[in-house]
């Protein structure tokens, strides 16, 4: 290695993976423009809500939480996709996941801010946000929420950045025909990465350690989010199962989201060689496990309630199964479980189209699932005579803001893929002898300490 030059491991797909980063097409600009437009509409609608008050939504008494909180839980759940794949699967030594780690982590990174935005949109006085720091009470589940999500966001940025670092250096060195400001950006962000064996070794070790940390954070975050509901004594919410229920739902919907994103990337950027169909088959197996696990959670929860027959709980139960929310409940069962399971088992193998179709259904269904957890409990308070109303129709304001949040997520993601390689080049090398540069080839646990050849 010549002094002063950075080492980049040889990747046979380098040109293929770097191709999308070399040029921005007019189709991109149109897409970005449209997304910015939707985002802009969302901002205007929100400003109107901020000035007039939350009365412009459909929320009322007793339905104090509606679409915005559903969005919050949904986006935080979506974020679990990346961490599951890049952290948990990394620890399990599932090396097949290497090409899609960055694509999955990017979902995490870009959906978390919109989860946070959903909460801010729902606050009556967002101008008083600082009160949480100044007067925060750690006895409150919202403080646990705030801490956990902030920590998750921060660590995700660091984890993502570290995984990206060698590839930023690669962009700096290879992409010579991009605008100067872009070159400068790569130079600054590369932090002088040289690609020495020690640097790679340390990077790998750090990522291993962070993977453990992120796995713990991920479990904590969504459990803590569920405890905002679980720690109240309201029927339908106050169940010990709510933590695992939310956590599993998050990993489930997140993994399905990864399938969708992967299919889009593969098609749009012609990355079929770098993202082979075997990836989809591996994800399919995971999704079958998750679908069945979700069924387990639903049965455990609802059978227990039904058998126990406590009057307060049964009110909420019937609201879901036969009452005002029945059509949403049964639609959810179809979209999350019945149809996707059939597709995953019988149609999904080697078929990206079917996988994507099922994954879209899963995500729509999971949004409905969050709605089903939150709303029926609010419409059946213990003191039923208190119920003067109990119907909730989200207004255009709420839908516009929801749409703009999704637009924002898509925009950030799409722009990112045009500036950085979405498949990690340094983690998907095949030509290099791994022993020479201490690159990860075996699982973290179960590795023999001394492996000199």
């Amino acid at each position: 290695m010549r002094a002063g030059q950075t080492y980049h491991p040889e990747n046979q797909h380098e040109e293929l993976i770097l191709a999308p980063v070399r040029a921005i097409s007019s189709r991109d600009r149109t897409l970005w423009g449209a997304l910015v437009g939707i985002l802009f509409i969302g901002v205007i609608v929100y400003i109107r809500q901020f000035i007039l008050g939350l009365g412009v939504t459909g929320m009322n008494r007793p339905i104090y939480w509606g679409v915005y909180i559903t969005n919050f839980v949904f986006f935080i759940g979506l974020a679990h996709s990346g961490t599951f794949i890049s952290a948990i699967l990394r620890l399990a030594g599932a090396d097949w996941r290497a090409p899609l780690t960055r694509a999955a982590e990017a979902i995490t990174l870009f959906s978390l801010p919109f989860g946070v935005a959903s909460i801010l949109v729902d606050m009556g006085r967002p101008d008083r946000l600082l009160n949480i720091i100044l007067y925060g009470r750690f006895q409150s589940p919202l403080l646990w929420d705030f801490t956990a999500v902030s920590l998750y966001l921060f660590s995700s940025v660091v984890f993502f950045y570290l995984s990206l670092l060698p590839d930023i250096a690669l962009c700096r060195d290879r992409l010579t025909h991009v605008p100067t400001w872009q070159q400068r950006m790569y130079q600054i962000l590369a932090l002088g990465w040289k690609g020495t064996p020690t640097q790679y070794h340390r990077l790998e070790k750090t990522l291993d350690g962070m993977a453990i940390f992120m796995s713990l954070v991920v479990v904590t975050v969504h459990t803590v989010v569920s405890w905002v509901f679980g720690m109240t004594i309201q029927p339908g919410w106050h169940t010990a199962l709510i933590g695992p229920f939310f956590l599993l739902g998050a990993i489930f919907s997140g993994t399905a989201a990864v399938v969708i994103v992967l299919a889009i990337l593969r098609k749009t950027y012609k990355l079929a060689e770098a993202l082979p169909i075997s990836l989809f088959n591996s994800l399919r197996k995971l999704l079958i496990v998750f679908t069945l696990s979700w069924l387990y959670m639903m049965v455990a929860e609802h059978l227990t309630i039904f058998y126990g027959n406590l009057p307060d709980e049964m009110e909420v139960f019937w609201q879901r199964v036969t009452g005002d929310f029945a059509w949403i409940f049964w639609l959810m069962i179809f979209l999350v479980f019945i149809i996707p399971l059939y597709i995953f088992i019988f149609k999904g193998k080697d078929s990206i189209k079917w996988m994507v179709a099922a994954s879209i259904m899963v995500n729509v269904g999971m949004w409905l699932e969050r709605y089903i957890v939150i709303l029926p409990t609010e419409t059946r308070p213990r003191l039923l005579y208190e119920l003067v109303q109990g119907k909730y129709t989200p207004t255009l304001t709420e839908w516009a803001i929801t749409l703009s949040l999704f637009a924002g997520l898509t925009l950030l993601y799409a722009v990112f893929t045009r500036f950085f390689p979405i498949v990690p080049l340094w983690e998907t090398v095949e030509k290099l002898e791994p022993e020479k540069f201490n690159l990860r080839q075996r699982p973290t646990f179960g590795r023999k300490r001394k492996e000199r050849k």
Binding site: N60, R61, M123, Y135
Partner: protein, 239 residues
């Protein structure tokens, strides 16, 4: 230590809603237009409900037809537990307070309360625009503190305060007159107004107060007694 409590005798209550109306005027509760009321967004710190005597949601009594409900001012309030900023808190005298300046409008207290006593300001509070409505000038105000009948901003939660401004006024009057404050010197507006003389108010820690004695009545019960909240509003069912 003082422990403020209210006893409501359902045998004497005629559901005239005088308590609710008095409360609204005393505490500057904003009015809402009919479309908002249809959504259920009326703010009624004290609310009067018709009850079913049997079937779902029945209350433990076979004759009570109406229930009037202020804030329970629980001894172990679920709302206070979950407030992220301490905008709602329980003071040493057992009153669950609400500070409008600090509230961030997250509404976790509102969904956590099993009695549904909390309300939210969906818009900037408004009164009839043609008539200059006389507002109760009493305010409870500190450097970062706004409570009681003080005019609320939009986006904050509010609820019954046992007319805490009256408590402060009574205390100041006693101090100005150079004597001790007696716990029967102050009553909330609803108690003062009740046409059937069905409401009583006082110090539960004082064994000789009316509320202490009525609390031991055979007819006494509390709402959701097994929820662990220990509400301090005691009802006497029709006997």
């Amino acid at each position: 230590m003082t422990k403020w409590s209210m006893v409501i005798d359902l045998d004497k209550c005629v559901a005239c809603q005088g308590c609710s109306i008095a409360c609204r005027f005393e505490n500057n509760t904003p009015i809402v237009v009919p479309s908002e009321a249809a959504l259920g967004r009326s703010i009624l710190w004290n609310e009067v409900f018709p009850l079913r005597s049997e079937g779902e949601g029945a209350i433990a009594s076979d004759q009570a037809k109406f229930l009037t409900r202020p804030c329970m001012h629980c001894e172990d309030p679920p709302c206070v537990k979950v407030c992220p900023v301490g905008a709602t808190y329980k003071d040493e005298e057992g009153i669950v307070r609400q500070n409008y300046t600090r509230c961030i409008g997250c509404r976790l207290c509102t969904v956590a309360c099993p009695y549904g006593v909390r309300y939210f300001n969906w818009y900037e509070p408004d009164w009839a625009d043609s008539i200059e409505r006389p507002l109760n000038p009493d305010r409870l105000e500190g450097p970062r503190d706004l409570e009681g009948p003080s005019v609320r901003p939009q986006g904050v939660v509010e609820k019954c305060t046992f007319c805490i401004h009256r408590l402060h006024k009574a205390r100041e009057r006693a101090k100005a007159e150079g004597r001790d404050f007696r716990s029967d010197e102050y009553v909330p507006a609803c108690v003062q107004t009740c046409t059937g003389k069905a409401r009583f108010f006082g110090d539960l820690d004082d064994p000789e107060s009316t509320v202490s004695q009525l609390a031991q009545s055979r007819r006494a019960f509390r709402l959701l007694e097994d929820a662990g909240t220990h509400p301090k509003v005691i009802y006497l069912h029709e006997g």
